[in-house]
């Protein structure tokens, strides 16, 4: 996500590399590129103008701290201003609560409702959903199908036209659930009767949270819509959906600045687990091409609860085939490799396409091959010579070439992780973040 924006920013910043004094021309050029990038990401025009003005003034007026290169100085200002624009992440408490979903037609409320239910379920909370969409045909079937796949109770009264009644009954029915999520009909801010309805639903359910669901592709209208929703039910969280497309999600930032509510989640795919917590820091790190360690760790820890896999193997210095075996198992659960890699701080490195190109069938082949290896081979792959390759291949029912391919993949992986750990070099994220932290 936001790759396009990230790369144009990188281009802009490149122009400052190697400069020793802040040069007005370069800063102006940077700001102009930044403006273009943000406008193309659908960030509100007025916000863009404010932001670029602030960055320009600060970059030219503030002296770089001692020992900091001009490029890093400007990068830091850009980073800080962007963080300020995004605000902090919305709060998500893991406790009893009622969540009211609101949003425009087709923004993905129902899918997100199911994803959220899954999220809270995984955190060990008893979760239930209520379908209060009385308008769209098939809405109840959609939600109940999604929920039955993950064993979440779903309350609804298909055929009933009064959403207020459904919510009242649903809350009574599901009162022993810890988290109740109410899915509502899509509506937009200019439909007065529907706005009146959601105000009623909010009061009736005394919802703990009212989250606005926004399509990543939404343009300049996001501002106005968010404002109206905020006036009606006091939005306290924003969810951006469809971040797996090419849209950059800048429209949601307008909603954030309009409501003062933080972004709580990001939807990034069609399956039930494609929901990430939002964190401004990670969002911008990714934006600037610095990867997102935090999100990866959070996801990894959650997975660690389910399997006894040592996911930290990825981050550890010693990386053996055994680690890779566990990792492949973990990756299967964590989602597509590309998604995971997107979260790693790989800086401007373009990973070779074939690293991603390991399909799940190939992964299971790899695991079979590794099952045919001895403990020694798994711990120290360097002992594997051609005769061992023959034996492994025969044992796994694979061809020697497949074994070699696996070894090659392992080597690539190892080399890549070395870069991630960042003992030095330009991709050392920890060092960079530490500097940013010194606001």
């Amino acid at each position: 996500m936001l790759e396009g924006l990230g790369s144009s920013l990188k281009d802009a910043l490149k122009k400052l590399a190697g400069k020793t004094v802040v040069d007005r021309g370069a800063v102006e050029e940077l700001v102009k590129d930044l403006q273009r990038a943000l406008l193309q990401a659908d960030v509100n025009v007025r916000l863009v103008m404010q932001l670029s003005q602030a960055i320009k003034t600060r970059a030219l007026d503030e002296a770089p701290p001692k020992g900091m290169a001009v490029r890093e100085h400007v990068l830091r200002i850009v980073y800080q201003e962007l963080v300020r624009l995004m605000g902090s992440a919305g709060d998500v408490k893991l406790g009893p609560q009622t969540i009211l979903m609101a949003g425009l037609q087709g923004s993905g409320k129902t899918t997100t409702t199911a994803k959220l239910a899954r999220y809270f379920q995984r955190k060990g909370l008893k979760t239930a959903v209520i379908c209060a969409d009385t308008f769209r045909p098939g809405a109840y079937e959609q939600l109940s199908t999604l929920c039955s796949r993950i064993n979440i109770p779903c309350y609804g009264q298909p055929g009933e036209k009064d959403a207020r009644l459904i919510v009242r009954n649903g809350l009574k029915e599901k009162e022993n659930a810890e988290v109740v999520i109410i899915d509502t009909q899509g509506r937009h801010a200019l439909e007065d009767d529907l706005i009146a309805e959601i105000i009623d639903l909010n009061i009736m359910s005394s919802a703990t949270h009212r989250w606005l669901v926004l399509d990543a592709a939404i343009g300049q209208k996001a501002s106005e819509q968010a404002k109206k929703f905020h006036e009606a039910i006091n939005i306290d969280g924003v969810i951006i959906t469809k971040m797996d497309g090419t849209a950059k999600g800048g429209g949601a930032l307008s909603a954030v600045s309009e409501t003062g509510a933080g972004i709580v989640f990001i939807g990034s795919g069609e399956t039930i687990d494609d929901l990430e917590r939002f964190e401004a820091d990670s969002f911008i790190s990714r934006l600037l091409g610095m990867g997102d360690l935090k999100a990866l760790m959070e996801k990894a820890q959650e997975m660690a609860g389910e399997t006894e896999v040592d996911v930290n193997a990825m981050m550890r210095g010693k990386f053996t085939l055994r680690d890779m075996y566990k990792q492949l198992e973990a990756l299967n659960k964590m989602g597509p490799l590309k998604q995971i890699m997107g979260m790693l701080p790989l800086g401007n490195v373009e990973l070779p396409a074939d690293v991603y190109d390991v399909t799940s069938t190939k992964m299971s082949r790899y695991r079979i091959i590794m099952d045919s290896m001895t403990a020694k081979e798994l711990d120290d792959p360097s002992v594997i010579g051609s005769s061992r390759i023959q034996r492994i291949a025969a044992g796994a029912g694979a061809s020697p070439d497949e074994v070699r391919e696996l070894l090659k993949y392992y080597k690539n992986m190892k080399r890549m992780l070395k870069g991630v750990k960042g003992g030095g070099g330009k991709f050392n994220m920890q060092r960079l973040m530490k500097r940013f932290g010194g606001t």
Partner: protein
Amino acid sequence: MFEGLREKLQKISAGLEQGIRSGSATAEVSEEPGQEQARKDPNLLGKVKVLITDREFVISEKEIAESLAELELVLLENDVALPVTEEIIAQVRSRLVGKRRKIGENVDILVISALRESLLEVLGEGFDLLSYIKSHEKPVKILFTGVNGTGKTTTVAKVGAFLKKNGFSVVIGAGDTFRAGALEQIDVHASRLGIKIIQHQQGADPSAVLFDAVQYAEAHKSDAVLADTAGRFHNRVNLMNQLDKIRRVMKPDLIVYVDEAVAGNDAVIRAFEFEKTVGADAVVLTKADMDPKGGAAISIAHTIGKPLMFLGTGQGYDDLVAFSPKKMVDELLLEAA
């Protein structure tokens, strides 16, 4: 719709007029003491010459630069994508700069016509579905495509209602076999409208469903087949290949690309990708009631150069408006003209 944009465009037109007027004012002043200045600036000399000989003014780039920059912001604020905005601005500029106008000629008309020309050029012609169906061999097969959540299914229902009202017989093919609840959704629409629907169960091959729908229409001599499909993102290769397969199997006469009026810059990217992979013959812009300013219409039309057929303007079956570019631009520039 488009009120907001119109208001702002009018303000801009006023700005442009002012630019041209003040430009011409300075030219008039320099007419008499102009010799010395004219030597410094050869353009000015030319200007003065034109002024004296033909009693005309030449519009310079500098005079309208500020207004154009403002116009650019207005278009951006109304969700016209950045590259599209830049092109429209460049067009208006090239239409105005260097143009001569006679002293008595109304500046308004010049500015408005430059804008009108640019916008009309971008929007192209509308698309008349009824006469298309009348003039083609039946059944006319129409495939609806687009990303998730733009309103394809609702649009299929609305178009079905529209055709039925105009006396055509219609069959709907329930090609969204992926999303939970999609089959129920289109089924309810069809039964409410009294339209025959062909569907398989959830997870079935959409190509097979739509092929069956076409077969049914041929056997029953229906006038049109409306093929709904699952929403898909243009960067999902497998799903786009599936769509391509659907196209090969059902051989649609018309591919209608559906997108929403609230979309921002991404509208350009996805329209381009859909057009590239499976083609598009016409565009339906939904949720125009949400974003009455309609910048996305300009973005999409400019990107793929295909006509807009309908605007979706609400949740009822009748909330479907035939798109007419002339009417839109006229309305946009009504009071300014």
